[in-house]
Structures are given as structure tokens and as C-alpha cells.
Amino acid sequence: MARYDRAITVFSPDGHLFQVEYALEAVRKGNAAVGVRGTDIVVLGVEKKSAAKLQDSRSVRKIVNLDDHIALACAGLKADARVLINRARIECQSHRLTVEDPVTVEYITRYIAGLQQKYTQSGGVRPFGLSTLIVGFDPYSGVPSLYQTDPSGTFSAWKANATGRNSNSIREFLEKNYKETSGQETIKLAIRALLEVVESGGKNIEVAVMTKEGLRQLDEAEIDAIAAEIEAEKEAVEAAKKAPPKEK
């Protein structure tokens, strides 16, 4: 038992927790994930590595729900994700049992972040190697939210954010192009952001949409259609740019 008491995550002389920073590296190597909040909808999109031929792609769902009104996507170690998601799901039900109310998005985010923090300050364990994007609707006010947590255990609310591979470029794109949208426009914005770093096509992206009614996974055909729309819009913009100089 004494062997499990020694902490692995300890401070370096200049105040860094290297294990946590290495965990963030693991996140940076994970699949890109993006979340965008609209006025009546929140969209999650995750990069899907092309599935091996014999693999049943349905068993590799990247966007999962924690409760009827809350969904989560993550980047990083998928096995760690499974553990964290199970604990969060139990907490959602436990909350319903003890206060007869569904959790708010903020509550469950705080819980997950608290869990991630605990593992940076305990003996014999390493931090979780994943950052999560949590979306949902507040059960009373009906306000949509998007939160992000990371291996250090911090969390904050976002209008739009990305994590995982190339998250910096996606975030830059979002900062330039974000505006308050709703419905289909928000879905398009999320897919456009993801397409900045991922090969186009429904095969490579998984998109899920959270509305007041619940979580809906978009199927490949839908994603392809929207991607095509985006392509068309891009070309129209290109053409418009080239056109004016020709007119006289």
C-alpha cells in the first residue's frame, strides 16, 4: 500500500506540473474536435480517422451523451475517456436521484473537471490524458452551453472552441468567422471549422447536434450534403473575387 502513496505529478523547480503538460501533449496528438454554440442549438464535430475495413464503425462513437440533455466529445486517450464518461454518467443519475433534478451543464462540467484535477493531486495515479467538450441545455432556462475541460482540471464556458490536433488553426478560424447563429447556420459553421484541418467528406467527420429535444447524430449523407454546400459557397466567393477586375 505504501508504494501507492508516492505522487507522480509533482512540481518542477520553476512551478510546472510536467505530467499535466505531457498529458496536454497527448491531447494535442488526439483527433480534432470542435464545438460551436448557437442561440438554440449546440454542435459538436469530431475528426474520424478512416475506419479499418473490417471494423464496425458504429462501435466507435466519438460523441456520446451523458444524459438526455448533455453530450460530450473529447480529444486524447480514448480509454481514459471511457472511464471519465462512465463516472460522469453515474454522477448525472446520482444527481437526479438525490435532488430529483437533471444536472446543469455547468454542474457536470465541474464534476468532470474536479475528477481530472483529483488525479493530478493523488498518489500513484497519472492525470487523464484528454480534454473534453461538453455541450447541453440547462434543464430550466433552456439556455445552450458549451464548456471545455482539460487534464489540469480547469474548465470554462465557450462560444466556440476546438481541441485536439490542429486546434490552434481551428480556433483561429472560429475567432475570425464566429457570429451568433442558429439552427443550420451553426451546423455549417462547425463543419466549416473542422474542414479547415480535415479532409472533406462525410467519411472523415462525425457531427452531432444538441437541441432542446436531445442529441441527434448526423449521418454521412447529411454531412456530405452540407460539405458540398460549403464547397460551393467557397467557390462562389473565389469567383466573386476574380470577377470584379474583369468588369470594366
Binding site: R87, I90, T98, G114
Partner: protein
């Protein structure tokens, strides 16, 4: 006996051992075996000891304008009236009330504890706890002490986002949602008056009068209830104490003495 400090601890247990694979729920509360000579019968003894103390009348009901809560103020130990001025309506927080029936110490302590938990919930979640949630927290605590001799028969009344709320919670771990409740030795009498006069669309004054009358009639017939009839109203802006009338004086209001014709006057005998 182990004190319940779960309100002060953080949610998940501290670890180290690999057994946390099974984790998720915190371990079931354990308790020490009671130190008595009669392990099988001591519970009955405990109940007998506390029984007279449930001498009380409390009631609460929901109506159109909110919740009306009323109680007497007598504490009795067998035939001895130990106090006529016990506060049986406990202010958990500015918008929630609890009533006391059973062991006074148990009720007071656990209501204070519930107040702490409600405040912590507010601070953590930036919103008030619902009456449902508060009553559930109390019921879960009482359930975990089931069989250990707690005697609590309480009603949690309050106003939250969903409107007025009223729950009956007891030390057996039971929890009921309802529109009208009365708890205590005087409750049958109170129910009689309450059920007879209750209408959903009453004004605050009418409801207060009904509550007051119900408590008065219970104190009239039940020896273990008496003292002062307190009436509280819980509305959208929180609770407010409406009245606290001595039931002795209420007696003259409800049973006014009719002047009767004198049959024979007493005359002073002339001094011999």
C-alpha cells in the same frame, strides 16, 4: 455514533488502492453496533422514550397563494408540560420552512444541517435549491440513520421556481409530496377542521384563519398540544410570520361565553 459530515466533504472518496475500479458511488454509510444489553429490544425502548415528545400539532397546506404553515408550541414529557413556548416552525432559509414534531433536538439539528446543505448548494450551483431537492436531501440523511432512534416528523414547505412545494419527511426515511399535511398527536383533530374548511382558492387571510382554527381545535382536545398557535405564510418572496396567538385567548374567540339569564341571584346575608 458517527456524525454525518458528508456535507463538509468533497463528493468522491480519497483513494490510493486499486479498488477504485468499482468506484462511482461513495461507500454505503456504516454504523457501529449500539452498546446495549438488549440488542433486539432497545429500539422499542428508544421509541417509547421519545413517544410522548411527539405531543404536538403541526400542519401545512398548499393553496392558490402559496403555502400556509402552522404549529402549536407546547412541549410535554408524559403528563408534565415542560414548555409552552417552543418554536416548532424552523426557518431553514428565507424561502423554506420546516416543522418540528418528534424529538426536538433531532428536528432542530437536522433542519440546521439541511440549511447548511441548501446554502452550499446555492453557492456551488449559483441557484437556489428546489423544495424537492431539499426535502430529498433530508430524507436521504434520515434514511441513512434509520433504526438508530432518530425521531423526526417534519414538513418542508417552500416556494421555488416551480411554485409552492410541500413535502412530509420522517425519520423512517419516508417522503411524501402533498397538498395538505398535519403531523403530531393533535393531527387527527387538526385534519378534521382543515379538511372541512379547505378550498384551493382561498385568500391569504382566509387560509391563515383556517390554519389558526385547526391548531386551536387540536390544542383544545389534545392534552399534549397547546401554548401559542403560530401561523406562517410562504409566498413567492419567501416566508412571513403572520400571527402567534395564545390558544387560551383564541378559545374565547371561537367559543365565546354567552351571557345566560341568571336564575337565582345571590344576596348578601345581612350581618347578624
Amino acid at each position: 455514533m458517527k456524525l454525518d459530515t458528508s456535507g463538509l466533504e468533497s463528493a468522491a472518496p480519497v483513494w490510493g488502492a486499486p479498488s477504485e475500479l468499482v468506484d462511482g458511488f461513495s461507500a454505503a454509510p456504516s454504523f457501529e453496533v449500539p452498546n446495549t444489553t438488549d440488542f433486539d429490544g432497545f429500539q422499542k425502548e428508544a421509541i417509547q422514550m421519545v413517544k410522548p415528545a411527539k405531543g404536538t400539532t403541526t400542519l401545512a397546506f398548499i393553496f392558490k397563494e402559496g403555502v400556509m404553515v402552522a404549529a402549536d408550541s407546547r412541549a410535554s414529557m408524559g403528563g408534565y408540560i415542560s414548555s409552552q413556548s417552543v418554536k416548532k416552525i424552523i426557518e431553514i432559509n428565507p424561502y423554506m420552512l420546516g416543522t418540528m414534531a418528534g424529538g426536538a433536538a433531532d428536528c432542530q439539528f437536522w433542519h440546521r444541517n439541511l440549511g447548511i446543505k441548501c446554502r452550499l448548494h446555492e453557492l456551488a450551483n449559483k441557484r437556489r435549491i428546489s423544495v424537492t431537492g431539499a426535502s430529498k436531501l433530508l430524507a436521504n440523511i434520515l434514511y441513512s440513520y434509520r433504526g438508530m432512534g432518530l425521531s423526526v416528523g417534519t414538513m418542508i414547505a417552500g416556494w421555488d421556481e416551480t411554485g409552492p412545494g410541500l413535502y412530509y419527511v420522517d425519520s423512517e426515511g419516508g417522503r411524501l409530496k402533498g397538498m395538505r399535511f398535519s403531523v403530531g398527536s393533535g393531527s387527527p383533530y387538526a385534519y378534521g377542521v382543515l379538511d372541512n374548511g379547505y378550498r384551493y382558492d382561498m385568500s391569504v387571510e382566509e387560509a391563515a384563519e383556517l390554519a389558526r382554527r385547526a391548531i386551536y381545535h387540536a390544542t383544545f382536545r389534545d392534552g399534549a398540544s397547546g401554548g401559542v398557535a403560530s401561523v406562517y405564510y410562504v409566498g413567492p418572496n419567501g416566508w412571513k410570520k403572520l400571527s402567534g396567538d395564545d390558544v387560551g385567548e383564541l378559545h374565547y374567540k371561537y367559543y365565546p361565553v354567552m351571557p345566560s339569564t341568571v336564575e337565582q341571584e345571590m344576596v348578601e346575608v345581612a350581618a347578624a
